[in-house]
Amino acid sequence: MPKKAVEEVVAEKPKVQTGYLVRLLVAAWLIPGCGHFLQGRRWRGLILFASIISMFILGVLMQGEFFTLQSPSLLRRLGFLGEWAVGVAMPTAYFFGYTGGNPYFVSSDYGTAFLVAAGMLNTLTILDAYDIAMGRRN
C-alpha cells in the first residue's frame, strides 16, 4: 500500500480519548458486556452479560472454589486473577455470604472451572470492547 494511502487510512481512524477508554474498559470489566452496551452494541452486550453471569452463577451453585493470592501454588494464584476478571460478580457473591465454596463437594471441580472460565470470557469481552472503541472491529 502506498505511503499516502496508509496515512489516509490512519487519519480516518476515530480518535479515542484515553479517559473515555479507561472508563469504558473499567465498566466492561465490572459488568460483563457493559463495554459493548455503552458503544451501542446493546443486544451483543446483553447476550454476553447473560452468558458470562450464567456461567458464574452455575459455578457458585456447584460450589466452585474461590482462589486466594496467598496460595503457595502459582496456578491457584493465576486462578485468583482469572476469577476476579469476572468483575463485580465476585464481591456480590461475597456479599451474599458465598465464601469460596466447598472443595469436597461433588461438583466443586466443575464449579471452579465455570468460575474461572467466566472470568476468562470476560477478559476476551473486554479486549473486544477495546477493539471496537479503537475502530478495529465493527
Binding site: 454476553l48 456479599f95 451474599f96 465464601t99 469460596g100
Partner: protein, 78 residues
C-alpha cells in the same frame, strides 16, 4: 476453607437460601460448551447469521471432540 458469614446483615436471610447443584459430567460439559460457544460466536463474527453458525460449529466441536476423546481414553486403564 475460611468460615465467614455475609458481610452485611441484609444478606443474612439470602445466605440461607443459597442452594447447591449436583449435575453429571455430561450435563456440565453441555452447559459449559453452550455458554462458551455463545460468547465465542458473538466475539468472533459480526453478523447475527455468522455468529449463529460459528457458535453452532464451536458447540458441535466441543461436544464431538469430548465424546471422541472419551471413547479413545475408554480402554486406557489409568
Amino acid at each position: 476453607m475460611k468460615e465467614r458469614g455475609p458481610i452485611y446483615p441484609v444478606a443474612q436471610s439470602l445466605d440461607q437460601s443459597i442452594s447447591t447443584m449436583v449435575i453429571s459430567h455430561f450435563t456440565a460439559m453441555l452447559l459449559f460448551a453452550f455458554f462458551v460457544s455463545v460468547v465465542f460466536g458473538i466475539l468472533s463474527k459480526d453478523t447475527p447469521r455468522d455468529q449463529l453458525i460459528y457458535g453452532a460449529k464451536t458447540f458441535g466441536a466441543f461436544i464431538g471432540i469430548a465424546l471422541l476423546l472419551g471413547w479413545i481414553m475408554y480402554p486406557v486403564p489409568w
